[in-house]
Symmetry: C2
Amino acid sequence: MKINANYLNLKNNYLFSTIARKVTEFKRANPGLTVYRLDIGDVTLPLAGAVTHAMAAATAEMGEKATFRGYGPEQGHVFLRTAVQNYYKKFGVELQTTEIFISDGAKSDLGNFLDILSCENSALIPDPVYPAYVDVNVMLGRKVYIAPSGKENGFKAAPPKDISADIIYLCSPNNPTGAVFTKAELEAWVDYAKKCGALILFDGAYESFIRDPDLPRSIYQINGAEKCAVEICSFSKTAGFTGTRCGYTIVPHSLVFEGAELNKLWLRRQCTKFNGVPYVVQRAAEAVFSEEGQKQIRANIDYYMENAACIHNALDELKIWHVGGVNSPYIWLEIPNGLTSWEFFDILLTKANVVGTPGAGFGEAGEGFFRLNAFGDKELTGAAMKRFAETVKSL
Amino acid sequence: MKINANYLNLKNNYLFSTIARKVTEFKRANPGLTVYRLDIGDVTLPLAGAVTHAMAAATAEMGEKATFRGYGPEQGHVFLRTAVQNYYKKFGVELQTTEIFISDGAKSDLGNFLDILSCENSALIPDPVYPAYVDVNVMLGRKVYIAPSGKENGFKAAPPKDISADIIYLCSPNNPTGAVFTKAELEAWVDYAKKCGALILFDGAYESFIRDPDLPRSIYQINGAEKCAVEICSFSKTAGFTGTRCGYTIVPHSLVFEGAELNKLWLRRQCTKFNGVPYVVQRAAEAVFSEEGQKQIRANIDYYMENAACIHNALDELKIWHVGGVNSPYIWLEIPNGLTSWEFFDILLTKANVVGTPGAGFGEAGEGFFRLNAFGDKELTGAAMKRFAETVKSL
């Protein structure tokens, strides 16, 4: 029996394990000291009341023979797909419920969707980037092209002129940079995809953080995207579902490649390798879209965005270049004094006791930059940024 | 962009859709008539009290900031992996918690595990068979060999003499036949796998239905299996989790192929393409292993096994050859009078108003056989078998 040798080509990504080790060692050497975590991309506010209420009611249903639910549709219950459909109507996108697939989160489908695409396809991936985009392609032996981004384009990669790619990964609002594509920028990507005959996998996991009504929340707000793009979303950051696991993937019927409707191939894939999301979780996700649920999750996002404002205000005062943090929970900053990401990480940890994420961990174009995030506690974030400012001034 | 052309080689399996259409048409033509469903492989009893209690408590935890849980380990929470570890100790199997991966059900991992294995491997699959085993291999363009089984070997396929396979699918208790491998039969498979250098994917989704203490519940009860087998289990039938979605996959550290530890490759795969099972579901699954939980799920399995006894007693009286139904919720019977599976299906539906599953839908070796299952209501199962007997006698 042979293993999939492509796995041997995967780079070990020590970003998060190295951060964890350094923080643990620092804490051990300095017991009792408060360490401020602005590095972890996980939410801290609990599930909204409307959500736990719905989940508790569904749990009770599962305990009674008359209301018990067994196998559900692999694609998700119609009640939740209808709720997603109605949500998209709010920003002018018309979907059929058969175009919506309920998933256990964006990460799964960002990788699994590749199952239905040939391994001969090349992938084009912006840098800096969520590391899984690269890994899932390397696992299948695909050629990976990098679309670098940087300060000059506000960390929003533009379509390359000299490469014809088959599969394109886009993430907006971006993880790790927090940059958000404008309508014109996304139009350029859709045009490029059409020219190449490429498929865009659009990761919209952070769409609910977009405040600016002129910024697209969905790639389907761009004309023609329904013929070249799959959109992958998640309740993780929208509604604190990081430990609850639910998302949705949009596969328009109009996506046709080599005469095959991708929607049908994906349905076949899901029916063969997936058995749907727990009923209680689908009821919880449905509650996110209720009037009460929307009000409550909006309050949570407001809370995180106040943290984001606190962070970017502090950076403005320090005259540090940065993006994100306005329509995104991530803030991406240029490290002062020409320090490397890891040098800055160490100084910040030891002097300010603040932990952030070194940009180099997200790709070559991330060197010299640093990610802070807004998912923490408000008071701790404020205190952390004061200490951050003092340390930067002392450099 | 090219699609994965292997998908075009998938056979459309119309088994369940054809059953659904025929039943719907019959009901429409005969309104008010009771139709007895002994075809659907889904549980009907609700979740046990210990399980819903744990799920409700976990839901409440998720609603409070102090006890909220975000991202968990992709491999599953330690509390649940420890519970699985202790469960295996009961039948003499020692596992490390790092060898246990919590999944969203057996179906996902039976397909996804192939991600880490080369597409050049051939697969050996018994017939009749759960159709997904074949499909997940065809999707990757693998050569598929069939190991036929039949009346002569009690529908327990034996290792072939003339084929050297790379990946072997085994399911015991078997779906659809209900046959259970003895220790000697599994030893023969482990010997064969070692001789071929093959990997066994052992589907133990129905292990909790085994009553006979001499029958192995886990392939790791066979010496040497830890060097050639992955075991994939589920709470679906054990504890009624078909709509709740949880299972576990065992990948021993001693599984080494081409110098690579499969456990490490699988961990990498899961960390890249999966984000774990919902916290509330993992707490529910943990409760299955509590003293109270075990008592309650045992009572549910007893209930189903009384249905199974009712079915096989009726078949015994009719002198119809059958397997399963003793250590399994499925009963597989030889159709009398040389009728085909679908002919018998139609007669049973129209004359007895009983629905079963035609064996031909599970592969060529299933023609002339029929599956009944024990997951229904006790009274309805009893009534169905009376009508079944009358119809068979009238043939």
